[in-house]
Subunit: 338 residues, 2 copies
């Protein structure tokens, strides 16, 4: 029975999340019951939504309970099986949490999915060909619904969602402008992710300079925006929207800590007849097959080359997660667990 | 050639609009050219959108030019015609502006429409069976798209838009809660307009008390909101929205004067997966026939009994308009011109 190291949520953040909110423990993996599968995790996915789960307040999902393993997406390999649908050696994606092993009911629908790593590396099933990729797909296809030639903007441009968004939007003939932190990320966005332009928010730290930069990068205005951040960047984008622009709201990372960040000029929603829609992708499972097919093809054919930042070992997860919230990662943030 | 008294926009407001922004002048009505019609206005409609037109800043519509007759909807009677489509005595609705007469090109599409006053009084073509009614219809049917049993909220509840909204929403089996200023308007909303409840915003002047009142009036939460006002009322409604609630944004009257009013907690759009859409009804002419048919039937059958506040004479228009912006009117604000 292998030892399983786990990260629990020990206490809730007061304001900014800190490492001491988490606790590392070690337990035995339990013996399997009929129908269950033991998965050895290869990678854990770290994602901004986890910050919301750490709070006790009402959110779109249940709070992460204290003293339990942190929620999280994982990819790995079946190492023991009492379920005829899964064999030892199968590569699988699931929601195993911040731990090295998980025991999964192989009969529960949607809990564990076998994946093919012939053309797509295993880790990408946590990024471009997983939840973040489908998030980009849903916001682009179902909310922004762009026309060829439209100008689209995405914040957190070099992250897992942003990079998938760019590839999907370029495939639809759009001009895509990213917003990212630092010259290295901006260069990467243009050179490797095929963004038409990328704005460094560190060089444009307020509405005045950011809206000017957006004006320069979007000479025909903004027709669609995929929001991962919130705060002054959203305010700046609204100032540059064209009539009937559409905004997919998927993250408000800037506001997770402390007080809510206001939207400074909501009258622009009326003035420019905007549509703003918030969503979480797990409520739209019906689009996943179509989205994953397109995303797998983009990765398999080299049109989407997602970058990853990989922390080593379960014990590194808290610091890697706090870094993600501050934008220290470059591309999809993972933790390698084996 | 009759004298035509007109109200011009003389200068733009600095902050709050004031009576001295307007100027009353008197001119001769010009001789008609071929195809033209002279209309004697019976009623002028006063509407909140006019405040936006008085500014020089970018808005969804062109600014009202200085020194020209203020824009506005009118109903009246043809008193002279050089157009075979219009006869003297025809009752017509159009955009004649703040003046006693207008000369209209009877061949220009959509400029002048003949109306039937057998079942619907002429003035109602400026309210329930006109632009405000269609505004309510579009927001309800095309944006909120409610299901039977949904709880809907509308601000400025006893105004022309709000009262039509209530009748349309009740016809679809919804619970409808209004927000209005003062006990008299709230009583009227419930007794005459068939609102299920009406909240007096004067008794609930901040987010804390208003959101509490909304909780009491909407025990099952809010599924749809028709926004005529903006400011803290919108903030309060967002706090009570159910998942997937839909918000039609048609007015931000509270923010027309002075600085923009922030939306305090836009993260709720994500948390509750809301959809917010701004619109102006003149961009959706394709729905007008269907909407006007339903609204005409509601008025004709007595299911919608719109109330009017009528000022007398063109010279009273500026003060009546300023009163409208402060909520002093009760129901549709009109100016009687003949």
């Amino acid at each position: 029975m292998p030892q399983n190291r786990q990260i629990l949520l020990d206490n809730r953040p007061e304001g900014e999340a800190v490492a001491s909110n988490f606790k590392l423990v070690s337990t035995d993996t339990p013996a399997l019951k009929d129908g269950e599968v033991l998965v050895r995790h290869h990678y854990l996915s770290l994602d901004p939504y986890m910050r919301g789960r750490m709070n006790d307040s009402k959110s779109y999902a249940a709070s992460q309970p204290l003293g339990e393993v942190m929620i999280g997406g994982t990819v790995g390999e079946v190492v023991e099986s009492k379920n005829p649908k899964f064999a030892v050696g199968d590569q699988v994606v699931g929601m195993g949490g911040w731990q090295e092993y998980s025991v999964v009911d192989g009969n529960a629908p949607g809990m564990l999915r076998k994946v093919d790593t012939t053309h797509v590396p295993l880790s990408h099933y946590l990024g471009a060909v997983g939840m973040p990729g489908v998030t980009a797909w849903y916001g682009l296809v179902k909310i922004i619904a762009p026309k060829e030639g439209n100008t689209l903007v995405v914040s957190a441009a070099t992250g897992a969602v942003g990079s998938a968004f760019a590839a999907l939007a370029k495939a639809r003939g759009c001009r895509v402008v990213g917003i990212a932190g630092g010259p290295e990320k901006c260069k990467y966005a243009v050179d490797e992710l095929h963004f038409d332009a990328c704005i460094d928010y560190r060089q444009h730290p307020d509405v005045k300079t950011m809206s000017k930069a957006l004006k320069d990068a979007c000479p025909n205005g903004i027709d669609g925006y995929f929001e991962n951040v919130g705060g002054y960047i959203l305010d700046s984008v609204l100032l540059r929207t064209n009539a009937f622009a559409r905004i997919a709201l998927c993250g408000m990372i800037a506001g997770y800590d402390g007080a809510p960040l206001p939207l400074q000029n909501p009258a622009l929603i009326l003035v420019n007849r905007l549509m703003i829609q918030g969503f979480i992708v797990s409520e739209h499972m019906e689009v996943w097959p179509e989205a994953l097919k397109e995303l797998g093809t983009l990765v398999g054919t080299g049109k989407l080359k997602p970058r990853e930042t990989v922390a080593q070992g379960i014990e590194s997860a808290p610091e890697a997660f706090l870094g993600l919230l501050k934008g220290k990662n470059f591309g999809k943030q993972l933790v390698k667990l084996s």
